[in-house]
């Protein structure tokens, strides 16, 4: 039922339509259809999982029914749509949509096809549920790969085309609008083979690595780290202008995320006005460097320390009045702070200094020696360096006396204080450190755009950052990076998503809370905390029994 409604909703809001402009496999299946099929498959799988009786038949029947319901409801939409004009309410319910939904076969055949497709995907999901692990893996990995390759074709194609040998693969894999059929089959087999190999050999390789002497392991770690750094360094050269731009945006969000991670993830102070510090960093950079305002005309490097110091100062200024607030009250107060800064910047009163709604322009680019961080591929390096620095500082702080004090405050403020944690100093330090990282991000942002405008600093940015921290994993440093890629990078890549960005955010947050509340890449402790419970409990159970039997 819910699946069907979800399917209908997706169709009605126009997502299917927008997505179907992009074929995953040329002329065979589009992204819109894939989305609907995935809904049917997902609910078929869920139904199979929920089935209480163990007989295979029941599982299959259940998943069939749920697939059928999804197909049926979408079919119902088509029938209703052909009888009544739904466009008055749902702008997207236009003839094109019905054509898509019925596979261009007219209403009657289309409805039948829809039911069939729903039922088929339901049964497939059921079969998938009862099939052994290895087959599941061999199916799911290549399918994900194909969908990924289809969805990301706009990025992958130009990248491939740049390189001689890869261009041939490119020709074979893609046509103008999607994967070729041959390419898709080839990709399927390739990924299936790789995943089969990994399933067979992966564990032995892993144990092999674990059995290496500590020195060998150390070397392995360092080499993989070096390879990673090397990849990160050459990335903008390979990826071209557009992808480098996306990378710089992701990088700026990583900087912001790492800063807020200290405030929210470590110290547990929910700050919804975090964008204010980003704005303060950007505007400090603008005021100090822009010849338009002609106050100081410093260089980027000359202004950067001031931007960060301004961040620290404003962090403390925000921190002092909200020291005694907790939870919801703190969130509301910080939200207000964020808006105050934005409105101040917009105000006519401060216009001579901050440029008002027109913003400040002509902010110079940063340069080192003769190298100018002009376009995205160059600024990328600046941001990468910033990310490394900030990640390093976060990581050092986390494992220290201060990091522990932050976490103690997060867990129980009163007890932390009774153990000697100075609440004022600890909270202000968290606010100031987070604000400094954010101001750094803002300063680079200003230099990247060469201009700053008040509307770049709305509350949505704060919310984005909170979302990416939650999705990545609260208090986890790699989680911030994963979250930024997932919530900032992917929507930039999938231009179809742009309109539905908030919808996807909401859905992603709800799904995360239900399925993986500790985040995509939880911090070490969190991982032990939520998914390691069973393990720990069994260990404890056996230990509890031991003294009892000894009595």
């Amino acid at each position: 039922m819910i699946g069907g409604i979800a399917g209908v909703l997706l169709a009605l809001i126009g997502m299917v339509e927008a997505f179907s402009q992009r074929d995953i496999i040329n002329n065979l299946i589009s992204m819109g259809h894939t989305l609907l099929l995935l809904v049917a498959v997902f609910f078929g799988y869920l139904a199979a999982k929920r089935t209480t009786r163990a007989e295979l038949l029941w599982i299959l029947v259940n998943s069939l029914i749920s697939g059928l319901i999804v197909g049926g409801l979408v079919a119902l939409l088509v029938i209703v749509g052909s009888l009544i004009n739904l466009r008055k309410v749902f702008v997207n319910a236009m003839p094109l949509l019905y054509e898509l939904l019925t596979f261009k076969q007219g209403t009657q055949v289309g409805v039948f096809l829809l039911l069939l497709a729903g039922a088929m995907s339901g049964v497939l999901a059921g079969l998938f549920f009862i099939s052994p692990q290895i087959i599941r893996r061999m199916l799911i990995m290549p399918l994900t790969g194909i969908i990924g390759a289809g969805v990301l074709q706009d990025m992958l194609r130009p990248t491939f085309a740049l390189w001689g040998p890869l261009a041939i693969i490119n020709e074979w894999l893609y046509t103008a609008n999607g994967l070729t059929l041959n390419g898709a089959i080839g990709l399927f087999i390739l990924i299936a083979a790789v995943s089969l190999f990994w399933a067979k050999r992966g564990s032995s390789i892993k144990t092999g690595v674990r059995h290496l002497p500590p020195k060998g392991q150390h070397i392995l770690k360092i080499t993989s780290l070096l390879i990673l750094i090397f990849i990160l360094l050459v990335l903008p050269q390979i990826l071209g202008l557009f992808l480098s731009e996306v990378l710089t945006i992701v990088g700026l969000y990583v900087l912001l995320g790492l800063g807020l991670n200290i405030v929210v993830g470590f110290a547990g102070l929910l700050d919804l006005g975090y964008v204010a510090f980003f704005a303060i960093g950007a505007y400090t950079m603008a005021i100090l460097t822009s010849p338009e305002l002609a106050f100081f005309n410093l260089s980027f490097w000359g202004a950067l320390p001031f931007a960060i110091i301004m961040g620290v100062i404003s962090g403390v200024i925000l921190g002092v009045p909200v020291l005694k607030m907790r939870g919801d009250y703190l969130a509301i107060a910080t939200l207000g702070f964020g808006e105050i800064i934005r409105i101040l910047v917009l105000s006519d009163f401060l216009r001579p200094w901050l440029g008002g709604a027109q913003g400040v322009g002509k902010i110079p680019k940063a340069s080192v020696g003769g190298f100018e961080f002009a376009g995205p591929p160059q600024i990328y390096y600046l941001i990468l360096a910033g990310c490394f620095l900030v990640a390093f500082i976060s990581w050092r702080l986390r494992d220290s006396r201060l990091g522990r004090a932050w976490m103690a405050v997060r867990e129980d403020e009163d007890v932390a204080q009774a153990l000697g944690v100075n609440l004022v100093a600890t909270k202000l330090l968290a606010f100031a450190t987070g604000a400094a990282f954010s101001a750094l991000s803002g300063a680079i942002f200003a230099s990247k755009l060469s201009s700053v405008y008040p509307h770049s600093f709305n509350v949505m940015i704060s919310i984005n950052i909170i979302c990416l921290i939650i999705v990545g994993g609260m208090g986890s440093i790699p989680g911030v990076i994963v979250g930024s890629i997932a919530l900032v990078g992917l929507p930039e890549l999938l231009r179809e998503f742009a309109e539905y960005r908030l919808l996807v955010y909401g859905a992603a947050l709800v799904a995360m809370m239900l399925l993986k509340p500790e985040g995509l890449w939880p911090s070490e402790i969190r991982r032990r905390e939520l998914h390691g419970d069973e393990l720990v409990e069994t260990k404890q159970a056996s230990r509890d029994e031991a003294p009892a039997s000894g009595q």
Binding site: L397, A408, A418, L419, G420, V421, E529, D544
Partner: protein, 261 residues
């Protein structure tokens, strides 16, 4: 010599007088119990000593230092640590980290020392971890240091909380119902442990307790509170015969148990 002295300490909540002109002297190196019916003001007095509450009237001195008006983090630095009636560990930190937080006031590392990992910081952290390990062993939690505090069994959590309080290197340890919810065997172990704390570490212990067996078994002095007032004080033997105490407890069965103990 008295390590802690309360002088007409009074704490009111609106019209309710939770602690009423309480005079109390805790002798150094003693095990001193505070008992009394529920709502007698025992925990409120603890909160006054540790700085959670500020008494409106009266004074509390610790080694001739006035505690009134100090913040909890200043008081713990003077050498008073406590545990809580309902265990209040940091649930999402490991046992080890809980104890390291307890050591917080004895560490000095600052922001730049940590980020640059100066030799002094590194050395300090190494010593702190060693001390935390030693404390884990002391409270009989060796090998469980990497467990999250909330995943530990109840008895372990009680002992971890004491370990965390000990990490602050207190001269006076306030224990709020350390044996609550324990079976007789665990209770006996806890009693031995408290005795050991005093004998081995020379820590003065002030405890709130409901189990008369514990109170009568280990305390040297017992103070009885009722409605925020001290109604009796003395050795366990004296307390058990005091008619006022029996009256305060009358009908609760505890008086009968007290006679039996």
């Amino acid at each position: 010599m008295a390590i802690l002295t309360a002088n007409k300490a009074t704490k009111r909540f609106g019209g309710l007088v939770a602690v009423d002109e309480l005079d109390l002297e805790i002798q150094e190196n003693s095990i001193h119990s505070i008992i009394g019916p529920n709502g007698a003001g025992k925990t409120t007095f603890f909160n006054c000593v540790t700085g959670f509450y500020r008494p409106e009237v009266g004074e509390i001195f610790f080694n001739n230092h006035s505690l009134v008006g100090l913040l909890p983090d200043q008081i713990v630095r003077l050498g008073i640590a406590r545990t809580y009636q309902n265990i209040r560990l940091f649930p999402n930190l490991t046992a080890m980290e809980n104890i390291l937080v307890g050591l917080h006031s004895h560490l000095k590392a600052g922001f730049f020392g940590i980020v640059l990992e100066l030799p002094a910081t590194r050395q300090e952290e190494k010593i702190a971890v060693e001390e935390a390990r030693r404390l884990l062993r002391f409270v009989n939690l060796a090998g469980k240091g990497d467990f999250l505090a909330k995943n530990l069994p109840y008895g372990d959590q009680r002992r971890l909380e004491i370990g965390r309080a000990l990490a602050a290197r207190p001269k006076l340890l306030l224990l709020d119902e350390p044996t609550a919810g324990m079976n007789p065997r665990e209770t006996q172990e806890m009693m031995d442990f408290i005795q050991h704390l005093r004998d081995a570490l020379g820590i003065t212990i002030l405890l709130i307790e409901h189990q008369m067996r514990v109170v009568m078994g280990i305390s040297e002095i017992v103070t009885v509170l009722d409605y925020g007032k001290k109604i009796s004080e003395g050795t366990p033997a004296v307390i058990q015969k005091d008619p006022k105490v029996i009256e305060a407890y009358l009908g609760r069965g505890s008086a009968i148990e007290a006679h039996g103990a």
